[in-house]
Subunit: 354 residues, 2 copies
């Protein structure tokens, strides 16, 4: 397969980790006879510094004409600490999501066997957890009409959804469940919210097309409890923008290894793959950043194009690196193994499996 | 002090646990020379069975003319499993909150030293956690305008707050922080929501009147993570209705002992005190229900009227019962100690401390 991949390294540790993901994709291309063509572009603070824009037109053009985007991270303290800054790196991310129409955010959470001790939860609670969250990313109350009264004493946000917005992500989530453990949990607040009742109606209807998938309903407050009490009960979680924001961030910490979590944001025509960790400016250039989240984002990219065998090879190599403790200090204190050494090991393992 | 207390035992284990709370309040009255006058009334399924209404006028009248309400629990499977039921026990709770104007919900969460092993979180994470959540209870998106389009294809909910609604609960939360560890964390989503920005503006302004309290801001998605990663960082959390629903339920499971969690719902003139656990029908009449949440709700009632020394005595007696393992089987498997034996021990300890 031939794939054109835009690489947007961004700020902080973004470039270091993305470089390892690219290295791993090159190993996959070599082993499986694919052609991956990488083109780099600017985003975030580094883009503001060079062009004045966090998501320049040139970057947008590249993203529009490539098959997928491999994204690093954005954010720089010099903008965070300057309240007068008119342009902020984060705007680049929001603009990209909007312009590329990325309405589905996918966040897998897995308890890595080798890292069970890292979790704030007890080993026996987290062991075996393997879930993925489908969060609607371009609708709901985050994008609804905002009002503030003239006297500034009343403010409101409108949480609105259309059946169409729900349908398109629901199909994606059911399809994901079909190739996983065939369980889908819709998280909403249908006992109170009208928009949640629409979610429930639409998703219940669509479920008829996926008879092999078991559909469950869970109120969001209960979901926030169940994520802690019994995360292994979940397979695919489907939810709206606001609830997805809260539940996916909650879920991200139960595994105890935020440096290992990948994500995908997918639209009709475009798709972006990125680690969930940020630009982590304090670690920049020290070789201590964990590249695994970025590498697993590359695996999600391959899965998106049906290259499941290739993705599985990356997962196997990552597991092996953890097993052999070829790890950065975030998960192995006092480790002297650098970001690029982890990338080298994983790429080498793909080239020459045992 | 003379207090008129309405007792609404409700359904399931409600009557059993409320009886113990009353027993403990009677012990306090005796020891401290107070006069507590108890009057019982119907609520929930038992009220529907006898009057056709989940919150009959007679119960309402009693609540309106008493100083405080001691509430048990409501809910009965015979209504849950009957989709054609026009009247439901839960409506009694909502009607009561609304009619009594209970706009502040208070949910303390404490990691009991004797029960640290019960938590799904690791001991070292939960040890020392002692926080209380102030959730706005009668505003926001749960009560905002709901719309569904004629074709049923679009649905919306309006999340609205006025400065007045925020001010009244903010003062209560700051006052609570003053007599605790003097830290208040406002949980919102001010980077996205207009109503959250109003919360932030109003609370920041009110903070000037409470200079001894440190004010922190936390986005709700980050709060959902921090509650797991480091719950001991929190003292008082202040938040809106929706975020409070999610965060307080999440927080309720970190202590590992839902049978011990009390709550208060407070308005300008009225106040209701109740365990957070439900009616737990399967346990009804077996003597296995844990009465501590109800007993600690009685302690919150006393604190509400400034009877802090009296409340402290209840807390001490509860701690002693846990220490001596005078506990029901939910926290001490194989225990043969009944609901009323736990109540007896706590009441006796108040009468005759060591
Ligand atoms: Mg988030
Ligand atoms: Mg709740």
């Amino acid at each position: 397969m031939k794939l054109n991949i835009a690489v947007l390294p961004g700020d902080g540790i973004g470039p270091e980790v993305t470089k390892q993901a690219k290295k791993v994709l090159e190993a996959v291309a070599h082993q499986f006879n694919h052609t991956f063509i990488f083109k780099e572009a600017l985003v975030g603070a580094v883009a503001i510094d060079k062009t004045g824009e966090p998501f320049p037109q040139e970057t947008m053009d590249l993203c529009l004409k490539t098959d997928a985007v491999l994204f690093g991270a954005i954010g720089d303290p010099k903008y965070d600490n300057d309240p007068s800054a008119k342009v902020r790196p984060e705007q680049g991310l929001l603009k990209m999501r909007k312009d590329l129409g990325l309405f589905t955010n996918i966040r897998p959470v897995k308890a890595f066997e080798q890292l069970l001790d890292k979790s704030p939860l007890k080993k026996e609670i987290i062991k075996g957890a393997d879930l993925t969250i489908y969060r609607e990313l371009t609708g709901g109350i985050y994008f609804g009409e905002k009002k503030i009264s003239k006297d500034g004493k009343t403010a409101s946000d409108l949480g609105e959804y259309s059946a169409y917005e729900i349908e398109r992500i629901a199909h994606a989530a059911f399809k994901a469940a079909q190739v996983r453990r065939k369980k889908l949990t819709l998280v909403d607040k249908a006992n109170v919210l009208e928009s949640s009742r629409l979610w429930r109606k639409v998703v219940t209807e669509i479920a008829k097309e996926y008879k092999d998938v078991e559909l469950h309903y869970l109120f969001v407050d209960n979901a926030a409890m169940q994520m802690i009490l019994n995360p292994t009960q979940f397979d695919v979680i489907l939810t709206d923008n606001l609830f997805g924001d809260i539940i996916s961030d909650e879920a991200s910490v139960i595994g105890g290894s935020i440096g290992l979590l990948a994500s995908a944001s997918i639209g009709e025509k475009h798709a972006v793959f990125e680690p969930i960790h940020g630009s982590y400016p304090q670690a920049t250039g020290k070789g201590i950043a964990n590249p695994i989240a970025s590498i697993l984002s590359a695996a999600m990219l391959l899965e998106h194009f049906g290259l499941n065998e290739e993705a599985a090879v990356i997962h196997k190599a990552v597991d092996k690196s953890l097993e052999l403790k070829i790890s950065t200090p975030d998960i192995l204190p006092d480790s002297k193994i650098t970001t690029s050494k982890v990338g080298d090991f994983i790429a080498d393992y793909i080239h020459y499996p045992e």
